[in-house]
């Protein structure tokens, strides 16, 4: 019997990026989250974004705290180092890692519990320091891992599965970040991969702290009628304020844009983001107007999404600290250690 010569078939998932890697090369181990959990869709968007950006897996570090959301780091890029830190402590662990090795791409994944309760101080100071990292909050309004208690992002009046309403005012990570000087602030929805992927790519390209709040419903504890973090509620109340399109190389968009409303923000690495506000008076490079818009949406019961604010001229932690361009980890000990002469001088100074 002769075998039939079959035409070579390339499954779409086997397309390669500029590094010759397929989408599958950016996957991690099998998720153990509940079927339908929003967090798994965020994982898929992260895989897509990293593949499209052709990130070298071994040059990225995945950082997280504790929670269902924080498990995400195991589910993408298995060829990258990953660190599941203590609850709420991912920002400082990442700050330390970034201080020692500025050569890596830092991808932090957290939850609304991890970031807005126990870790809120850490988050605030990583924002102030402008640590160069992507910081994703998979926001479901509850502590999913510990069985669905309200988190600090739960809206007033939003009900638990058993019907009890939350009465404490929520902390909106987007407003928090805007008010303390974050240099890249976005919100998206796990059910909107088209919006999320370009935001994640722009966040990774951003030089500084990129906060991406992703409404990511918890199907087990917070997806019922009465919840303001359910799939249905988010779909019905999401209002995209700014549509972002990520352009890998700046030259591709040097042609004048026919659309006056589009703003092109040049990113540090030569890429660019085209931002198209959906309302004419919205300026995503103006912090005050961004903050006012998010607040106004909130008052109307809407959820403002999109790349809401970006300041690409800001200085990141290394610039603020005036550290050398070369990662500290690559600098020989002889150069790093000031030695006995410096110690002598220091002690003489105390005489």
């Amino acid at each position: 019997m002769t075998s039939i010569v079959k035409p070579p078939v390339r499954h779409p998932s086997l397309r390669t990026n500029t590094l010759g890697l397929t989408l599958r090369d950016y996957e991690g181990v099998m998720s153990t989250l509940c079927a339908g959990c929003g967090h798994d869709s965020v994982t898929a968007a992260l895989v897509q974004a990293a593949w499209e950006l052709a990130l070298e897996p071994h040059r990225a570090a995945k950082m997280s705290g504790i929670g269902c959301s924080s498990k995400t780091t195991a589910y993408f890029m298995k060829q990258s180092h990953g660190f599941n830190s203590v609850h709420g402590r991912m920002p400082s662990v990442t700050t330390g890692a970034a201080a020692a090795n500025r050569g890596l791409t830092y991808i932090g994944i957290s939850g609304d519990g991890d970031s807005l309760s126990i870790g809120i101080g850490q988050l605030a100071h990583a924002i102030r320091r402008n640590v160069d990292m992507l910081y994703v909050i998979e926001n479901n309004g509850v502590y999913g891992l510990t069985k669905g208690q309200f988190s600090a992002s739960a809206d007033v009046g939003s009900t638990s599965k058993r019907g009890e309403a939350n009465e404490m005012s929520p902390i909106d990570p987007v407003l928090l970040a805007l008010s303390i000087g974050a240099t890249f602030v976005a919100r998206s929805f796990s059910g909107d991969k088209k919006q999320l992927v370009p935001i994640l790519k722009a966040g990774i390209a951003h030089k500084g702290f990129a906060l991406v709040d992703v409404i990511s419903p918890c199907v087990t504890f917070n997806d019922h009628d009465g919840s303001t973090k359910s799939y249905l509620y988010t779909r019905e109340h999401e209002v995209e304020a700014v549509h972002a399109h990520y352009v890998p190389v700046l030259s591709e968009i040097s042609l004048p844009d026919s659309d006056d409303a589009v703003r092109v923000v040049a990113m540090h690495d030569g890429s660019a983001v085209r931002l198209r506000p959906t309302a004419t008076d919205y300026d995503p490079t103006d912090r005050t107007s961004a903050e006012a818009h998010v607040r106004a949406c909130q008052d109307r019961g809407e959820i403002a999404t999109g790349l809401l604010f970006v300041d690409e001229k800001s200085r990141d932690m290394h610039e603020l600290l005036k550290t050398p361009d070369r990662p500290l980890i690559d600098i020989p000990f002889e150069q790093l250690c000031p030695g006995s002469a410096a110690l002598e001088a220091l002690m003489d100074g105390h005489r």
Partner: protein
């Protein structure tokens, strides 16, 4: 390392500090790309030589050296597991690592006198007051040796010191005798073999407190 608020916050007289320019830090078992190349598989928590310390890699070294540090159950390859034997193997390795660490941490510091029959155990900023108390006690012909614990896990010498005296006092600045509890838990020394001297009024320890506690306790025994 044992330190405390008095050491951390107040000015202290110290001998002039020196620095050895030939010092190079030893980062231990860190595998670079070339070392990884020779391995069939990198297993982050696999103890190959029995000292409890498994080789690590630094981020950026290459895909083969990547691993995931996780809070949930994992095996020696750093992979998620719900297999009890695989997890127990790791927890037992940590015990070996901890025991091994006790042989490497800083040794206790001693102030000894010939023919001492009382041992004083202390740590941190209590040291100067306890050594002064030893001098005062010698004036009263109570000869004591002093051991200042400098690290945890406890080195074998800590047990040897405590077992060498008929009377042992543990001097520390907290209400509950936390160091004494640790000595019992870690070294199996009976609690009653160590008399606590506890000072927790919020001020630095003074020699007088120690002298009075020691003379008081010893006179009770002889009475």
């Amino acid at each position: 390392m044992a330190t405390d608020l008095d050491i951390g916050m107040n000015d202290w007289m110290v001998k002039r500090l020196t620095w050895d320019d030939s010092y190079r830090p030893d980062h231990g078992k860190v595998l670079d790309a070339a070392a990884l190349e020779k391995l069939k598989r990198f297993s982050r928590y696999h103890d190959v030589d029995g000292d409890g310390i498994a080789a690590r890699t630094l981020p950026g070294v290459g895909g083969k050296g990547a691993y995931f540090v996780r809070g949930s159950g994992h095996d020696k390859h750093a992979a998620y597991t719900e297999d009890s034997d695989a997890y127990r193997e790791l927890v037992d390795r940590l015990k070996r690592k901890f025991d091994h660490a006790a042989t490497l941490v800083p040794r206790p510091a001693y102030t000894r006198r010939p023919n001492a029959d009382v041992g004083l155990v202390t740590l941190g900023s209590c040291d100067a007051a306890v050594r002064e108390a030893a001098d005062r006690l010698a004036d009263q012909e109570i000869i004591v040796d002093v051991m200042r614990i400098r690290s945890f896990p406890f080195a074998d010498e800590v047990r040897e010191f405590i077992e060498a005296y008929d009377s042992v006092f543990v001097i520390e600045q907290n209400r509950d005798g936390q160091v004494r509890t640790l000595l019992t838990a870690e070294l199996g020394i009976p609690r009653d073999a160590m008399t606590p001297i506890l000072d927790y009024g919020g001020m630095p320890l003074t020699a007088r407190v120690v002298v009075e506690a020691v003379t008081g306790a010893l006179s009770e025994v002889t009475a």
